[in-house]
């Protein structure tokens, strides 16, 4: 009993001592913690106030996307929970110093050895390389089937130019053991599927590998596109496929050396070095006019001044991606070209201006015009598909556009040899006499 009592006493004593000492905190420290609390309160309230005071941004320049705005409040949206979700997105999108925090996070990631972010590898020397996702065989099948149908419907000379990405050409720059799908295997599969349709298939891997020693860089360090220098180096190979001569001298001209591309903004990996964009100026100038579905009027330049000065200077080429572009040149009698393309083609287009009288460029991702009418109006000397592997392996828009065309064809049941009727007098021939006035 005695021992029990003494034990109880000692416990009580220590408890009292603890109370007096503020659970182990000295009076000086207590003041510090109070101040710390105040600092935190100021920090949070300050951020909240900054959030309210600072104007909301419309667009994230570095991420190249629209930021969420304050959601509208209604009974329905509050009770369904959609307001809460939207508000959360708004709060995280419009947070003060957002870009700095994103960079800070990525910096912290890289310090801790993280080499991948959003499908982008931080390669050797800070070279950013987009990895290739495992391609879906069903997508490949649907797209090649659509191309096969097109070649059956419209006789022309068909070519497919496939540009490999940095992940394939700059393998040595990838971080060690970085997993990525094989572009060579994909390219081989595509070539095999297109061969029966009579499409001339050109994989630029060989041309780029050959140019690797002399042309540096072939790809932008911070962007997913190839450089104009790389495109220029591939000219002989592409001209060979299209059956055009490779003539004329071109001189490179630096138009921007402060380019920070989409891979940097997508991944958040900051790069100390910026990229340089070149355009090639032909020795023999060519006159051309360009019009497009989302352009006003006709312009005399393929290059966009606004694009160069924008946050994405790669849009100096064609001002970005238009669904449909029509280019007329002074190269009379050289025939016409139809191109289905992605943005890799944008910097290659200038090299084709001397070879065609008209060039129609379709980006199926944004195309909503009438392809059937276009094919009926023109007898294309060449039809060209121009894609990079990463985009093409995930693209479903080309098969949609071509599928729509096939449906239209089936519903109208055209007479055999459609191209024979294009440009000639239609059935109600007596209504039309003389040549078409241009």
């Amino acid at each position: 009993m005695i021992t029990k009592q003494t034990n109880n006493q000692t416990i009580k004593q220590t408890k009292n001592q603890n109370k007096k000492q503020g659970r182990g905190i000295s009076p000086e420290n207590k003041r510090f913690y109070k101040n710390l609390g105040r600092i935190f309160a100021i920090f949070f309230c300050g951020f909240f106030l900054l959030h309210v005071i600072l104007p909301d941004g419309d667009m994230s320049a570095s991420e190249k996307r629209m930021l969420n705005r304050f959601p509208s409040i209604s009974k329905g949206s509050v009770f369904s929970g959609s307001f809460g979700e939207d508000f959360e997105e708004y709060a995280s999108d419009q947070m003060p110093f957002r870009d700095a925090f994103v960079s800070l996070k990525t910096f912290a990631d890289s310090v801790t050895g993280k080499k991948e972010s959003q499908g982008v590898y931080r390669g050797k020397g800070g070279f950013l390389i987009e990895k290739m996702n495992e391609p879906d065989p069903a997508v490949l099948e649907t797209t090649t089937e659509a191309i096969r149908k097109l070649t059956g419907m419209y006789p022309s000379s068909y070519s497919f130019v496939l540009v490999p990405n940095a992940v394939s050409i700059y393998k040595e720059k990838l971080p060690a053991f970085a997993p990525t799908a094989s572009q060579e295997a994909y390219s081989a599969a595509l070539g095999e599927k297109l061969a029966p349709a009579g499409v001339q298939f050109l994989d630029l891997t060989e041309a780029l590998m050959a140019a690797k020693e002399t042309v540096d860089p072939l790809y932008y360090r911070t962007d997913h596109h190839w450089t104009t220098q790389a495109a220029y180096a591939c000219r002989p190979a592409i001209d060979g496929t299209l059956g055009n001569p490779t003539e004329g001298n071109w001189s490179p001209l630096l138009v921007s050396d402060s380019f920070i591309g989409s891979l940097a903004s997508k991944s958040g990996f900051s790069s100390r070095k910026t990229d340089s964009i070149y355009v090639y100026v032909p020795e023999t100038p060519v006159n051309y006019l360009i019009s497009g579905s989302s352009r006003e009027g006709k312009q005399a330049s393929l290059y966009s001044e606004e694009g160069l000065k924008s946050n994405d200077p790669y849009t100096v080429f064609l001002g970005g991606n238009d669904g449909y572009l029509h280019i007329e040149t002074d190269q009379a009698g050289k025939g016409s070209l139809l191109v289905f393309k992605d943005s890799y083609f944008n910097c290659y287009l200038p090299f084709l201006l001397h070879e065609y009288e008209t060039i129609d460029v379709i980006d199926p991702r944004y195309f909503c015009d009438d392809l059937q009418s276009l094919l009926l109006q023109n007898q294309y000397r060449n039809v060209l598909f121009f894609y990079d592997v990463n985009t093409f392996s995930e693209d479903t828009s080309l098969s949609l556009v071509l599928g729509e065309l096939a449906e239209k064809e089936e519903s109208t049941v055209l007479p055999e040899g459609v191209s024979d009727t294009a440009g000639t007098v239609p059935e109600q021939g007596e209504l039309v006499t003389g040549e078409v006035e241009q």
Partner: protein, 350 residues
Amino acid sequence: MKKQISKEGTVKKGVRKQAFLKDSLSDIRNDRKKLTILVFYMIFGLLLLLFLISGMHRKHSSKAAAEGEAYITAEAAKDPAQVLQAIQAGGTAVADGNQADGQNTGDPASGLQAVTADGSQAVAGEGGISPNQGMTDANQAASEEVENALRAQVQAQMGPLAAQIESLEIPLLSPEQLAYYQQVFANTVVVGDSMAQAVYDYGFLDGNHVYFIRGEAIGNLGGQVDEAMAMLPSSVIFFSGLNGTDYYETPELYAAAYAERINQVLAINPNTKVFVCSMTPPSNELAIYREDLARSPEYDAALQALCASSPAIYMDLNWMVRQQLYLPDGIHFGEEFYTVWMQYAALFLS
């Protein structure tokens, strides 16, 4: 201590400061938590500053690319109209902006050039409806000759279309036919109100060939004319409907407003061929209780008079109007009407 002797006053102050710093530092050293938090905040602040600065730094462009930027600017500043001339001439490169305008002497419409070479002088004044004040008799005679020849040509070829309208059996265009007519319209733009909109809505022409504002009077379509002319068309077709009777009190005011638009086109490019479609009447049913719309023949007559005395060519659509071709609103027309319109207009363009 040497300092203490030489400058007593200041050193005392310094000693006090040092002592204070020493105390606070020892305080911090005593509490590791405090130290950690302090270091954390210092790093955080530094990084924040670093990234804010780096973000600002990115936007600077360097001087090395100045030559290239100047090239892009010069390219963008090229005049499309001159480039078009060079293309049509067969490939003489456009070096600078000194090439003369309007060198198409072989063009049958060249007689129209003198009319409004100076657009400002030709803008119709108050009450005046003629846009050709500067036209010489010789030019006018030449222009009339050309116009008459064209009319005769159209008249000779429109038999099958007239038969279609008579019988009201109007076959829609097949894809090949449509593609053919689109080619005929390749360098033509249509400007107007809902009447022009239908050309686009029915899919006859795309957005680069049709410029309209639904429900708008012709006088307010200046912006559309500018947009349309940026396509450097060789022909412009005006197609505007009954909004004119609502907006303009008298046919003269209507014609004056129309004259302004025609002059606007000719001021931008005097070689453009301008066609003006009639103002189509409302349906008989609608005309009974819409007296304002029923005045349309007067307005149409004024339009016809304007065209007779100007380089614009009047495109008569009244022969196509049949009660069965109206939409239920009694103002607009169905696809059949436009099918005939497209082929009829193509006769003027060919």
